[in-house]
């Protein structure tokens, strides 16, 4: 396993050699550091855009010349073919360059998408569980998929059109200067006013678009909640309430939608272009009247002004696309820069574990919250089983997760074999501790691969042996493909009890010194319950076990029972002790 720590900007649990280092101090710098290795594509994009814009001027100019030639008396028809060839050749070359521009933008977009996704993903793998447990999967997914996609789109169509269109603003200015220097005044004025108008337009539009998106989000989430809870809605006869809620949300969306429509309808650059065309026509006709330019020049000039159509129409979405891309870059960067507390501590203690656990004055608080655990003390000798009991929200799960450094204590010490867990080599610590979580996650792979997840070299015989010990062999054999059955996404095809026994089989295979079992399954029938009990008893044998459980029989027979309430240990001892000292405990053991 290549886990050699590299000089990375943040300590991480997992690192890989990077393609190139990136600067994460701001979205602009970060995007630039992704761009630098691909500067050649950027050059191709710019060259394509400039030449594409410049060559576009040939069509109106040659048309102007053609009118000049034909309207002369006598008409100079022999010149016509020359203009035709100039148009054909210049425009064919222009197409090739336009293709180069498009494809360079596309290529950059795809490269950015791939590399940023990879950077983000590697970074996510390196972050500690402190980060992952607080970050919702949905939110992380949104950034890893939509936001990465937005950055791709920022290049094409976004920047591709912004840059391409920019040269369609420059071309008329330069080309009209060639016809008569004075004629460049109107294109220049238009360009200036155009930027002001676009800026104003976007400033007005962006908050409304955001409002529309939010309104849609609210509408959608309440709607799907009402429909998922349709039985409750109907059972409580609250259809009318839901309809009025829906009406309110849908109406809010309607207002935002109409408001956005109004702003888009007013789109001023289109009016500006009409004004520029009229003004340009006037100006050129005046010059013609003064004998400074010809009629052909007027036609050419009017054709040049039409080139503004491209920047005007693309600006409807190209600029927003770029600003969306930058916003996405910022969101991704936030995630990348999110500090992660644990490091691999490669030089730490890494002896074989015996399994003694001690909590000394342990207090733990999630960032910005009240303490979830408060001055917890207890000691477990190697090989014993501890049941941790209490209501939801009393800190049971948090307590268990301090042992393998899923989280680090705020104050106090958790030690394993007398060594503070923070002084252990993280790899050695975690390899010898197994956690079976409440919500057991199975990958969409075969049953055998899932069991052998922590120990990929295991033979089929070893896997089956582990499954037998975990009482999982029987139900696995009932699947059509036995151990080669592919588990559905999120393990949907297996019941909670079956998933738990799969996880236990995993643990048997890796044979950890400490097993932490967050057990919240319930057996529908007594025969299954027998199996679960057998599997758990077998798993606790020969190792230290912390078990968070609702099962009275597991509590009853544990060597040590720790009762938590509000993050504090309110009682601890053996079953017999607690029956005497804790009334709450006694109550749950009375029928």
């Amino acid at each position: 396993m290549s886990t050699t720590p590299l000089p990375a900007p943040h300590a991480a649990e997992f690192t890989l050699p990077e393609r190139y280092a990136t600067n994460r101090s701001g979205p602009g710098r970060w995007l630039w550091s992704h761009f630098k290795p691909h500067w050649a594509l950027g050059l191709m994009l710019m060259v394509g855009a400039i030449t594409n814009g410049a060559l576009a001027a040939y069509v109106p100019i040659e048309i102007g010349k053609a009118f000049e030639a034909i309207m002369a008396s006598p008409p100079q028809t022999e010149l016509l073919i020359g203009f035709v060839w100039v148009i054909i050749i210049s425009q064919t070359v222009r197409s090739l360059l336009q293709f180069a521009r498009n494809f360079a933008a596309e290529w950059l977009g795809q490269l950015f998408e791939r590399n940023i996704r990879e950077e983000l993903y590697t970074n996510l793998l390196g972050k500690s569980m402190t980060f992952h447990s607080l970050q919702s999967v949905g939110d992380t997914m949104a950034r890893a998929t939509n936001d990465v996609r937005e950055i791709n789109l920022m290049f094409n169509p976004g920047l591709n059109l912004v840059i391409g269109a920019a040269f369609f603003l420059v071309t008329p200015i330069v080309a009209s200067f060639g016809i008569h220097p004075a004629l460049s005044i109107i294109p220049m004025a238009f360009t200036l006013v155009y930027f002001v108008a676009i800026w104003q337009y976007l400033k007005e539009l962006n908050p409304v678009t955001a409002k529309q998106r939010n309104a849609f989000g609210t509408l959608n989430s309440r709607l799907s909640e009402s429909l998922d809870g349709i039985e409750t809605v109907k059972g409580m006869a609250q259809e009318k309430l839901e309809v009025s809620l829906f009406r309110r949300n849908a109406n809010r969306f309607r207002e935002a939608y109409i408001h956005q429509g109004y702003i888009e309808a007013r789109f001023l650059p289109m009016l500006l272009m009409a004004i520029a065309q009229a003004a340009g026509l006037w100006h050129s006709l005046m010059l013609m009247q003064a004998g400074l330019i010809t009629l052909g020049d007027v036609i050419a000039y009017f054709g040049l002004l039409a080139l503004f159509g491209f920047p005007v129409f693309t600006s409807l979405f190209a600029y927003s696309q770029v600003s969306l891309g930058v916003a996405s870059a910022r969101r991704i960067l936030d995630l990348l820069n999110n500090k992660t507390d644990l490091d691999q501590n490669a030089e730490g203690y890494s002896e074989p574990m015996k399994g003694g656990i001690e909590f000394k004055n342990v207090t733990f608080a999630y960032e910005g919250h009240e303490a979830a655990l408060n001055k917890v003390n207890f000691t477990v000798k190697p090989g014993l089983t501890v049941a941790i009991v209490g209501q939801t929200g009393t800190g049971k799960t948090t307590l268990a997760k301090l042992v393998n450094r899923t989280y680090d204590v705020t104050t106090g010490v958790v030690s394993v074999d007398g060594v503070d867990v923070r002084d252990w080599n993280l790899e050695a610590l975690r390899r010898q501790i197994s956690i079976i979580e409440q919500d057991i996650f199975l990958f969409s792979r075969t049953v055998a691969e899932n069991i052998a997840f922590g120990h990929p070299e295991a033979t089929r015989a070893e896997i089956e042996e582990a499954a037998k010990q975990a009482q999982a062999h029987d139900f696995i054999m009932e699947f059509t493909h036995g151990y080669d059955t592919v588990v559905g996404e999120r393990g949907v095809t297996l019941s909670g009890g079956q998933r738990q026994r799969m996880a236990l089989a995993r643990a048997f295979l890796t044979d950890p010194r400490i097993l932490i079992l967050d057990d919240s399954t319930s057996a529908i029938d007594s025969a299954t319950e027998d199996k679960i009990q057998r599997a758990i008893y077998a798993a606790t044998k020969g190792r230290t076990t912390l078990i968070i459980t609702h099962r009275l029989s597991q509590i009853r027979w544990a060597d040590l029972i720790v009762v938590l309430r509000g993050g504090k240990v309110v009682a601890s001892g053996s079953h017999e002790d607690l029956l005497k000292t804790s009334p709450a405990y006694k109550r749950i053991f009375s029928e």
Partner: protein, 603 residues
């Protein structure tokens, strides 16, 4: 860009004809007929003003030539400005009206869709997963709003093209043939490109979908990967997907990057052709210079409508398919039908099934000739294997489903003759997986009885386990439960849903007991809350817990939709019949005796 839209559209099976759909959609615009006419007129007039510029310039070119008077300059410039301004202004007005009309129509259809969704009974939701219903109400309605915008834009573009086209034919039909002859070629090439773009888009989307699926799965399962230090293996899988998505999408980008350059080159060829042929004709005095100018301009006017047309059919089809999905939701026939609207003051809670036959699917009977009388205030527990009919009995009392034969009487009245809303207000229902709505704990408790005040809720909450459970909520009754109650534990959700019933004070209580495992301390509090409800209502319990079964006045033992035993726990157990079997299957492990014995299993 219209040309690239709808590349990833899917095909759907259609049941309504296009004509039916268009008529239905038109119906929603009835209230906006006035606005619609104005929109249509505006679209046409903006076409006229836009077409006016080239027509006018062509005319001016012929009439005035180089010897132009200052008055004529002002006239030409004035008309050019005016038509530019008018086409902007009519566009503005049209788009405002369109936004308003579509906003209103979407709102109406959404409301119709949602009301329909609320009125459908549960058999509808068995067949239609709620996620699909959601997208019918939100996305589908939006999609055909977009279609309307597209149609009005296309009307305006084609109007413009048609006016210019008519002028060109009038001037010289032979030269027009050069122009019109080119259009089918453009359409054909555009269609070819769209087909290629569509194919590559599909594979591109699929490849991207694969990477996203890998990310989603591995990030969801990150804890497992970290526990077993398998980050590297996971990364390899991701890397493979990411790389192949890059390859496929770059290929797609290659095809898409060619489209506009190719069409531009084609347009330049067209211009060159018209420039040459037109110029020769002018020289031969067949047409005027103005006409020549108009032909060159005409190419531009036709180019975009033809391009957009190549994408139009796909969009139209997907808009119609979206409309169809919305209408199918609205049109679905309800199966639960009330024949009367009797309002009952306070129910006594007398429930009588008389020879009821019920099935969800025809041919698969669940209840057969089922008769049962539950007396007011009685607590009845239903037990039996899965599929024995326990849940069905509860759902019929809730009137969630329609039964086929027999009678169901509530206080002696046919359940079909009752006012459903008024009846359900007196029902307290707790489903197996308690459902909470986004909001606070207090708001959820108040859901069925909005008038209840906080102090009353607090008083009841404190009666349960001396209010110990409130301690476990970070902000007490003001705690936000999150979407679907996700931020609360199962036990907390059950307590909230029981409190919801407690404040509602129903005459009849129907409980489908949860099977989820709850910590023993919370379990004890749930038991207390349950006892408080049972003492005040007629109760039907689908029992999964031993303590609940024991608390019942009468246990009804069901098998294949029939009652085969009834009595109390001790009596039935002593009989050694089906109940004893059920006890050994489902309840034995919940007894304290089992706890003491369980140590032996380890051996």
């Amino acid at each position: 860009m219209g040309f690239f839209s709808g590349l990833d559209a899917e095909q759907y099976d259609r049941q309504y004809s296009d004509k039916q759909l268009v008529r239905r959609m038109a119906h929603y615009f009835d209230a906006h007929m006035g606005k619609l006419w104005v929109i249509g007129l505006l679209a046409l007039s903006s076409a006229v003003t836009a077409a006016a510029v080239p027509l006018l310039l062509a005319r001016a070119l012929d009439e005035l030539g180089e010897q132009i008077s200052p008055e004529a300059i002002w006239l030409v410039v004035g008309v050019v400005f005016l038509s530019g301004f008018l086409s902007w202004a009519t566009n503005w007005w049209r788009r405002r009206l369109t936004a308003r009309t579509i906003g209103d129509v979407i709102l109406t259809i959404r409301l119709d869709g949602f009301k329909a969704a609320m009125s459908h009974d549960l058999s509808f939701y068995d067949e239609n997963p709620s996620g699909k219903v959601v997208s019918r109400i939100t996305s589908d309605t939006r999609e055909y709003g977009d279609m309307i915008v597209l149609i009005t834009d296309l009307i305006s573009q084609f109007g413009q093209a048609l006016i210019v086209g008519a002028a060109l034919i009038a001037i010289n039909w032979r030269l027009s043939l050069y122009l019109f002859g080119m259009l089918p070629i453009v359409y054909w090439i555009a269609t070819l490109f769209r087909e290629a773009a569509r194919r590559t888009t599909r594979t591109g989307m699929r490849a991207m979908g694969n990477v996203n699926a890998v990310i989603k799965e591995t990030i969801s399962g990150i804890a497992v990967a970290k526990n077993f230090r398998q980050e590297e293996a996971i990364f390899k899988e991701f890397d493979h997907g990411n790389q192949s998505s890059f390859d496929v999408n770059l290929r797609r980008g290659f095809v898409l990057s060619m489209v506009f350059p190719a069409l531009n080159a084609l347009a330049a060829l067209g211009t060159a052709l018209l420039l040459y042929v037109g110029g020769m004709n002018v020289a031969a005095s067949v047409i005027t210079a103005g006409a020549w100018y108009l032909f060159l301009q005409g190419l531009d006017r036709f180019w975009f409508p033809v391009l957009n047309l190549s994408a139009f059919w796909t969009q139209l089809q997907s808009g119609l398919a979206a409309a169809e999905r919305s209408f199918a939701l609205i049109d679905a026939e309800p199966r639960v039908v009330q024949v009367g609207k009797q309002r009952m003051a306070r129910l006594r809670g007398d429930i009588r099934f008389e020879q009821v036959n019920f099935s969800y699917v025809t041919g698969e009977p669940i209840l057969r000739d089922f008769s049962l009388h539950i007396k007011p205030g009685e607590t009845v527990a239903l037990v039996g294997h899965t599929g024995a009919g326990k849940t069905s009995i509860a759902k019929l009392v809730n009137r969630f489903y329609e039964f086929q034969e027999g009678q169901l009487l509530i206080d002696g009245k046919d359940i079909r003759s009752l006012d459903l809303t008024a009846y359900r207000r007196q029902l307290g229902i707790v489903s197996q997986v308690p459902f909470l709505f986004d909001g606070t704990v207090a708001e959820n408790i108040r859901y069925a009885a909005p008038g209840v005040k906080d102090p009353e809720i607090l008083r009841l909450a404190r009666k349960i386990g001396k209010g110990e459970w409130l301690e476990t909520l970070p902000d007490g009754l003001k705690t936000e439960v999150g979407e679907r109650g996700a931020r609360l534990s199962m036990g907390q959700r059950q307590l909230v849903s029981l409190l919801r019933v407690l404040v509602q004070k129903p005459a009849i209580f129907v409980l489908d007991e949860a099977t989820a495992s709850i910590d023993p301390f919370t379990e004890w509090q749930i038991q207390q809350a349950l006892d408080m409800i049972l003492s005040k209502s007629t109760s039907i319990l689908i029992a999964h817990r031993l303590s609940t079964v024991k608390a019942a006045d009468r246990i009804i033992v069901l098998r294949e939709g029939r009652i085969i035993e009834e009595g109390d726990h001790d009596g039935l157990l002593a009989q050694g019949g089906h109940y004893a079997t059920l006890y050994n299957t489902y309840f034995r492990h919940q007894s304290l005796a089992y706890v003491e014995e369980s140590r032996k299993l380890a051996k």
